[in-house]
Symmetry: C2
Subunit: 80 residues, 2 copies
């Protein structure tokens, strides 16, 4: 069976996010009010062929650990 697995990879909360800071500045230059913080990460959609949803999640977990996320700077969340 095919599963679509969503992986969210974000910069760790303890770290600065210069890209987010730049976007926050851009939004305020555009006159948009109300936004107080911006953090930018990656969103990865995987099409996984696996016998069960659990198995698909395991594959995504392994992919995240091995390639998608850098644990020194990022954390990841997986959802199906």
């Amino acid at each position: 069976m095919k599963f679509t697995v969503q992986v969210k990879v974000m910069p760790l909360k303890e770290l600065l996010d210069p890209q987010g800071k730049a976007v926050l500045g851009g939004l305020s230059n555009l006159g948009l009010k109300g936004v107080e913080e911006v953090r930018i990460g990656k969103h990865i959609t995987l099409q996984v062929d696996a016998p069960s949803a659990e198995e698909a999640k395991k594959i995504a977990e392994e992919a995240s650990k091995k390639l998608l996320a850098n644990p020194v700077m990022e954390y990841y969340e997986i959802s199906i």
Copy 2:
């Protein structure tokens, strides 16, 4: 009130995603089986100060249109 708004910005389905293709190749080089397609986009977390969740969503919608997503190549989804 403060709301955390999640914005997902992905390449349009009709377009090639070379970054995703590269990651797919990387996963297969690492010996990970089962992944058939990878698409990579951005995940943006906004901290919004707004009187209501609906208002916060509107602000995120405007930010997405004006700055976060390029409608020629990307679509976005907003969730609170």
